[in-house]
Symmetry: C2
Subunit: 392 residues, 2 copies
DNA sequence: GTGAAAGCGCTAACAG
DNA sequence: CTGTTAGCGCTTTCAC
């Protein structure tokens, strides 16, 4: 096959000499000769000339306007086809004083499946309205977010959908004043009042921890990353609320909300499990942290109840499935954000709107019911067998 | 916190009255008054007027050119800041006769983690060169791919990176002739000779199956989806080659390369497992199909050796980890594609280049060694215990 | 039915 | 150091 593939490729039309770009500045080297573009794209004027009509007539045909004799129209169409004419959307936007029909997506990182799912949904909803979609990643760096937003504004996007990095974003206010539509999704945007769609992450964590408390757990660990991310801090707040409401004193040794990375989370979990008084259940504030906890449990040979967030891909197929999965639902977030954008673009005025979605819960595995007797049960007491369960 | 969030949002600067867009056509309603744009963005002319200088001087300052008196320069800068001026990249592109500094990514679906990882890598490499990135999904529909490509060309992207739908793409040839850089990644592009970076999928499958044969398997099933996708058909070819080379007659009952979807793949696998003469190992040509096979094994209470593709997220954490994972490596594919684009944009001429990467192999679980005696071993004979393994 | 002229927001030569 | 004149590729008046 290796061979076949090579063949197919190399017997195809020979390469036409490469791009007409040269030098790091990508300057077009366009040599005019006789009034028609040498290389580079033909213009509407070229088409008009070839068809022997005026610019305006050519324009009418290309835009499907009425009032052109059929014969003239087809002459123009032939010329356009022969020349490989493609209308220049940039010039069109400029001349028509219309908007660019493009929307920018400012996100942390496209390679995160949660973000990718959200982005895909936004794109699909916008594509249905012929809006082009440009994305720019900021890697949770506020400064990069600012630069990326600026770049998109300079390209005159009609709207910005933002999954924001932490930090102030009031630099967007002037753009909003100048008519830019901004919608915050998954995380609120600080310093500007814009349409927002988020999930109640505090409640999500609170209910998750509550479920574990109801199952009899009292020693519940909480793991998160060292980050100012709104979603993460909300989840840790939810943990504390749930414990407080249940009248359980939080053991500081069980709360590590500032792990540097996933590897540290795993080590921290291992240490907790090896301690005299290990937790019997865990809240992991982020997908990767949850998987780190699972690895630590695997290493220690124990199975604790576990609440994780946004474990998008088949949590029930994990060796130790989490007992509770909280989903923000990237698809519904993306869909809601897209529809807010469209409404604003359609002329909706009025104050910033806020949608707070309820978190979604899944239980790939039933919680281990911990008998309410005694309070210093060990991790080993809560052990369960990973192979005991079976999925539908 | 629910409360706190509301507060923070609603006490922020009050919403300024919405976008300046109205009606479904998104036409700007821009009322001029006294020569300065009422709403809509200020132009360089506005800045120049406010600073009391000519257009060209303002332009010089905005572009950081030399030869402007410091006092003049700062007056212009102040004016620009006060007005909230942002250069119009579209107009700039048009006037300067330079390229748009944008690259289009034409992909099947952003929500696929493999594609998302590839896209993220392309974006990152291009962003480092200040190239804006636009993506467009085609959902493996050739007609949509054509439309999306056209839309990107009309926006005058400098290059197109394509993870192609099946089918002819020779409609790109005129664009290439007009200077568009096109790079195919992960899957070759039919009908045009362009720079290409793919993985040798035939070899990937062949080696994967070969490994299972070497472990003693003879009844090896192959599962794939009903699709013309190059990657999938290559993998099925690889399966047949491996079997042929080993002199094993392929049992047609074990090859189902045209499942309609993942659910059907699961059912097919279940049927195979329940048959008198079940397979002892499986090749699943795609991530989702692999997980379907795992579910079927789980249902049947057996663990067969399994080769899967592109199981990006922690295959070792699956209940039944595949014995072999073949990775195309979305990151290296994306990086290679990006660098090919950059080289062409930097003026590299010459024939289409082809990079064929070797597949990457991982073994989350050692293969079950099947004794070479007898040939009608049942699935039950190859059973293993999922809990016996432990990961590093 | 068709076309000429003006201009979108900017840069690119040239002059002063 | 600064300004003037063209024009990018297209749409938009408004006239023929």
């Amino acid at each position: 096959m290796r061979l076949r593939f090579r063949q197919r490729c190399l017997t195809a039309l020979s390469f036409t000499g490469g791009s007409d770009l040269a030098g790091p500045a990508f300057r077009r080297c366009r040599l005019r000769s006789g009034g028609v573009s040498r290389r580079g794209r033909p213009t509407l004027a070229d088409v008009a000339a070839k068809a022997g009509v005026s610019l305006k007539t050519a324009s009418r045909v290309i835009n499907g306007e009425y009032g052109v004799a059929p014969a003239t129209a087809s002459r123009v169409q032939d010329a356009a086809r022969d020349l490989g004419f493609r209308p220049n959307h940039l010039a069109r936007t400029l001349a028509s004083r219309r908007t660019s029909a493009a929307v920018g997506l400012v996100i942390p990182d496209l390679s995160d499946p949660f973000i990718a799912a959200l982005a895909a949904e936004v794109e699909q909803n916008l594509a249905a309205r012929d809006l082009q979609f440009m994305s720019a990643s900021h890697g949770d760096d506020p400064e990069r977010q600012r630069r990326q937003s600026r770049a998109l504004v300079e390209r005159r996007v009609d709207a910005l959908v933002v999954v924001s990095a932490p930090g102030d974003a009031s630099y967007l206010q002037p753009e909003i004043d100048h008519g830019l539509v901004v919608v915050a999704v998954d995380r609120p945007l600080d310093g500007v009042a814009v349409d927002t769609v988020v999930v109640d992450n505090e409640k999500a964590a609170r209910l998750g921890v509550d479920g574990m408390i109801k199952a009899g757990h009292r020693r519940i660990a909480a793991l998160s990353l060292d980050s100012e991310l709104w979603t993460l801090t909300e989840r840790i707040r939810g943990y504390h609320h749930a414990m407080e409401q249940a009248g359980i004193a939080v053991d500081p040794a069980l709360v590590r909300s500032h792990c540097a990375d996933v590897a540290e989370a795993r080590a921290v979990m291992a240490t907790m499990l090896a301690a005299d008084d290990p937790p019997t259940a865990v809240l992991a504030a982020k997908g990767g942290v949850g998987r780190a906890a699972i690895r630590a449990m695997l290493d220690a040979g124990v199975v604790l109840d576990l609440t994780v967030f946004d474990e998008v891909a088949d949590p029930d197929l994990l060796v130790i499935p989490p007992s509770t999965v909280v989903e923000s639902g990237p698809v519904r977030l993306g869909a809601a954000a897209a529809s807010m954008v469209l409404e604003r673009l359609d002329g909706l005025h009025g104050p910033a709107r806020e949608i707070v979605l309820a978190p979604l819960f899944e239980h790939p595995r039933p919680l281990t019911q911990v008998p309410p007797t005694g309070s210093d049960r060990t991790a080993r007491g809560a052990r369960a067998n990973a192979t005991a369960r079976r999925t539908a």
